[in-house]
């Protein structure tokens, strides 16, 4: 009798849980308590790491320090270029009346557990609802996309990895923009592209980046590299296999990406504003070596593209000027550089010609 009641109850629970969202809060509250067990089982490993860290030899630490410093230097070098490129990208997209996510906020999360079921690829991270994590949020590691959040608990969240059999992600071949869908295979080292025509231009070694088509993952993050293309005349489609770039089963730290719900234009202008702001602060903070490289990256990129893109539209003379002043304005610490900076991202066309006379003057002065 009790069996019958309990069986019916559990079946009812399953149906409700599968179809409705009523039980989600209950679940997350239970998770609040129970998820500690993942932490507890992880404890020995943490302790070991702590002890190893305590007793790590001095030379090792020095070597690591050295490595990190050079790495930091390299990354900073790349970042200098990136600032200019980001800005330029935003402006070019403004010209094209389109926009993409350029500045996304990220937050670091740490792995605390792996799903015990060997047939699913899910992991637990130590950030949850209280940290602002939301359902469907993309998760990255240092090398590429890892997956998305599928279940929220107050202080933890469950992440479905790209390679789970139930997961698919819209991708694009970086080389030629060909779109496809990459599905998980249940093998942590393999993704498969679905329904790729036999004649499609896919080669071994092609980088697949997220295309942003499903509106879930931001565009442009690396997903996988193609490692095998099989043309079988007996099959309707080519078989394309790829290896995820992210270390899905090795990464311990990952990034949660916060995308925002603002409109594309709003986002672009906001991003540009923020960039200007950051740049201005960077100048006052006297980051002299940083400025050295920016003009090199800036004008080279803008000069050929801006006139081409703007040619058919009316505000032709205005636009190249709008692009130009912002980039050289950074290297000059002088006062006249400041006024054009806020004017540029405001996106009002008449405002730009006003800035024009200042712009060409400065590169010449350099």
């Amino acid at each position: 009798m009790r069996l019958l009641v309990l069986v019916v109850l559990s079946i009812a629970l399953m149906v409700v849980d599968a179809r409705f969202a009523v039980l989600k809060p209950v679940r997350s509250q239970m998770g609040l308590v129970l998820m500690e067990s993942y932490l507890i089982t992880d404890l020995p490993q943490r302790l070991w790491q702590g002890v190893a860290g305590q007793f790590g030899s001095r030379t090792e630490l020095i070597a690591e320090n050295e490595k990190l410093r050079t790495e930091g230097l390299l990354l900073q070098g790349r970042l200098q270029k990136l600032a200019a490129l980001t800005e330029q990208n935003v402006r070019l997209r403004e010209l094209l009346n389109s926009s993409a996510l350029v500045n996304e906020k990220v937050e670091v999360a740490e792995l605390i557990g792996v799903d015990p079921n060997p047939f699913t690829h899910r992991i637990l991270i130590n950030k949850g609802e209280r940290d602002g994590v939301f359902l469907g949020q993309p998760v990255l590691d240092a090398r590429g996309l890892m997956g998305q959040v599928v279940e929220l608990m107050p202080y933890t969240a469950r992440v479905l990895l790209l390679t789970d059999t139930t997961h698919s992600i819209p991708v694009q071949i970086n080389r030629n923009g060909l779109r496809a869908i990459a599905s998980g295979t249940g093998n942590p080292e393999r993704l498969e592209l679905r329904h790729v025509a036999d004649t499609a231009d896919v080669k071994e070694g092609d980088l697949l980046v997220s295309s942003g088509m499903g509106q879930r993952f931001p565009a442009g993050y690396p997903v996988a590299t193609v490692n095998e293309v099989i043309h079988d005349s007996g099959q309707p489609f080519a078989i394309v296999r790829a290896i995820p770039t992210a270390a899905l089963n090795r990464s311990r730290y990952m990034l949660l990406v916060f995308t925002d719900s603002r409109s594309a234009e709003q986002r672009a202008t906001d991003a540009a504003m923020a960039q200007e702001e950051a740049d201005r602060r960077g100048i006052s903070g006297a980051a002299a070596p940083v400025e050295g490289q920016t003009p090199a990256a800036g004008p080279q990129g803008t000069a050929p593209t801006a006139p081409a893109g703007a040619a058919p539209s009316a505000p032709v003379p205005a636009t190249p000027a709008g692009v130009a002043p912002a980039v050289p304005s950074r290297p000059t610490v002088t006062a006249p550089a400041m006024p054009p900076a806020p004017a540029a991202p405001a996106a009002t066309v008449p405002a730009r010609p006003a800035a024009t006379p200042v712009a060409p003057a400065q590169p010449r002065r350099e």
């Binding site: 309990l6 629970l13 799903d115």
Partner: protein
Amino acid sequence: MASTRSKNGWFIWLTFAVGLLLSVSPMPQFMEVFRPMWLAMLLAFWSLSLPHKVGMTTAFLLGLAEDVLYGTLLGQNALILTLITFLVLSLQQRLRMFPMWQQSLVILVIFGIAQLIQLWLSALTGNRLPTLALVWSAVISALLWPWISFALRDLRKRLNIN
């Protein structure tokens, strides 16, 4: 009598807590398939030896806990564990008389059935598990059963739980 019962009842819950921890403890990838069904084994033992204390309701609650831990549908593991406990309870009188190897065999059959239902349920809910490899954990559990059983029986005698 009642006082001793309430004094050492915590031990049962301690074993269940440890069982929950064991069922999520990290293991090498290739060994995940062979993870024993810790909770099911503990439930089987306690419902065999203390049927008046540990029954299907306990199994149901533990199953819910396991569901939350595993992220499966709420009620899936609860159903499985309830069924296991029911089968063990209904065979209880006979199982207690059996020698250990025979107990193991019966446990193997019960857990095998439970895992098949698990497979069927997860196919139904869309989380398709590719193979019958799930049954391995039933085999491992049956092999571990004598040791778990002896150890727990010893502990139970020492702590005088009844």
